[in-house]
Symmetry: C2
């Protein structure tokens, strides 16, 4: 078995253990129990639970980038496609996983390395959204008055809020998706706003 | 000392203990240490840490309602005032408190009673925002085409996202506030959108 396979196995086991136990009570033994490895073998690859979870966040990031890489299409299509890709969980993702991720997010101020790794998700999204908005301004389909980076940050804030609400209040994301689509259609596309005198 | 004073003391001690220890590691002893009461005295008032924290969420809710009760003014002023009241932390609120609240939010699926109490905050905000938007439509200052409840939910999602980001990535809320203000000014006020043919 190559190192890559071992790492993938451990990441898969971490995913299952997080869904089963949540983050707060997670132990290296829980992760070992979900894999075909011993706890000692896990410690051979990762010094601590903290180090393993930092690696897990990087593994998630790679998957996130792959899953949300904007398709071809018009800037409008790419923007709405990216929003959908973030709001729609992968079909095989457990409900419990979003909860575990919010637990990890809440640990960002306490666990060195978590904040930087979590910020990468937002930075990646802001960069992708900004590029799409700039393309749309350039080809004339988006309002030239909009600030691409501020708008991208705003959309990311909405996406973060929807993910938090899914865990906290159990509110489905359908309303957020509808409102964000309307925001794009009526606010960001060119010719939707009256020119102020 | 009346029961009300005792309850207020315990709530104040819970606030301090959450800021000092976070939620995950919080014990009844930590809360007792922040008050002039013994752990046994705390247990006299609250059977368990869980019960005490449910009471604490209700205490926070009362403070939140008081702090965000919309002022008089035009619907536009009341809407922006409410957004500011939610985004601006009270001057005396510790940075650590937002983190403890996000930890508690992440426990909503595990701790019976947390979700209902957390949902009350959102329901209150949605109700207030919906009423303001309806008033604005009625007096002609807001776009009659907007859906008050969907719009209110969308604004709450943005506010939730900003609170999560403050903890997770440390991003300040200034950008969110600017974009939400712009959203209100250019999207919700009457006569800003071109009528679609």
């Amino acid at each position: 078995m190559s190192n890559g396979d071992t790492a993938d196995d451990i990441m898969g086991a971490t995913y299952c253990a997080l869904c089963a136990h949540g983050y707060a009570d997670l132990t290296m033994q829980d992760i070992a129990d979900e894999s075909d490895k011993s706890k000692a073998a896990l410690h051979y690859h990762y010094d601590s639970k903290h180090e393993l979870l930092c690696a897990f966040l990087e593994y998630l990031y790679d998957g996130f980038v792959e899953r949300t890489d904007p398709d071809d299409g018009t800037p409008r299509e790419r923007l709405l496609g990216l929003i959908d890709a973030v709001l729609d969980k992968p079909d095989d993702e457990d409900e419990e996983f979003g909860t575990a991720i919010l637990e990890i997010r809440a640990q960002a101020p306490y666990e060195p390395g978590f904040r930087e790794r979590l910020t990468r998700f937002d930075d990646y999204l802001i960069e992708q959204l900004t590029a799409i908005l700039e393309d749309g301004i350039e080809d004339g389909s988006f309002d030239p008055e909009l600030d691409p980076e501020d708008t991208a940050q705003f959309i990311v804030t909405v996406l973060t809020g929807a993910a938090t609400e899914r865990v906290t209040t159990g509110r489905p994301v359908a309303c957020t998706k509808g409102m964000l689509t309307e925001y794009v259609e009526t606010h960001l596309l060119a010719g939707q706003r009256e020119v102020e005198a």
